[in-house]
Symmetry: C2
Subunit: 173 residues, 2 copies
């Protein structure tokens, strides 16, 4: 077991880059909030990824929030390379215009966080992109707080093809 | 709703700092892997946190992995300040020696990832510490892969006192 897998299970997100005409999407577990004000998040992308080239070119990306119904697409997005195939053609998701960035949003996702890159840090075999969240669009899973009673977010159990989701129970400490 | 809450629910971890004689612990949702080789992870810590002072002093910290049984401790660790009270006295967890860093591990946690700081990046109202994982100790939840069938890891639903856990179901894409 790789030492990083002791942090799993972790939420799985989709990262879109490029443009609506030429979209790319990959999966990423390595996503975290970084600052409340300004609202910043970070995502670690392997150097070899096609997404890295597109983020470097456009300076923008979108973090999209899938639910378990999109697991097949999430798996395809995570295992094919956008440098070799047009992933948009292999996926069932719908790319739609974002409001403030060129990178597209995904219609079927429950949230799309539109980000502009403000910093990039070399971290070993990945680059950690720090993005300011400039716009968010969202679905019913976020009408109030994240709705874990009615929605199943994706949790990646470890590296590889095993996933789970959230419980519907709520605990208060 | 804060825009960062569209990334929730998120896993909740404990960050220990200081030394076995003078331990401190806080909760953190903002933790992510950053690199496979070398094995790096990052954690965002608010400037005002006592933990920040201790990490700056020692250059080391531990990421501990609690399960839902430790929720009450997790909540206390996240809401009291180590600058004002001795949190170790308020908590039911047991601090034990780590193998390669001065910051203690937590006996009741299912994993303890011992980290040495290799970089620190200013990210808005937080500092993002990048740590190399130099040692890991773990319990039965990680005998093979993360055991989501038999263990309930903590998911923070959003900012505030609402938590859930993982489902026990496994999906393959």
């Amino acid at each position: 077991m790789h030492v990083l897998e002791y942090l799993y299970p972790m939420r799985t997100f989709l990262i879109t880059s490029g443009s609506l005409e030429n979209p790319n999407v990959m999966t990423a577990d390595w996503v975290t909030p970084l600052s409340m004000n300004p609202p910043l998040l970070g995502v670690a992308i392997a150097h070899k990824r096609h997404t890295k080239k597109l983020i470097d070119k456009y300076g923008e990306f979108v973090v999209s929030v899938p639910t378990i119904e999109l697991l097949k697409d999430v798996w395809i997005a995570g295992t094919l390379s956008g440098a070799k195939v047009n992933k948009a053609e292999k996926l069932s998701v719908t790319f739609v215009s974002s409001k403030k960035v060129k990178a597209p949003s995904i219609k079927e996702c429950q949230a799309n966080l539109e980000c502009k890159v403000v910093d990039a840090v070399e971290t070993g075999d990945h680059v950690f992109y720090i993005g300011e969240i400039v716009e968010v669009t969202y679905g019913d899973a976020f009408n109030d707080k994240p709705d874990v009673k009615n929605y199943n977010f994706i949790l990646h159990i470890s590296f590889g093809n095993s996933f789970t989701t959230n419980s519907h129970e709520i605990y208060r400490a």
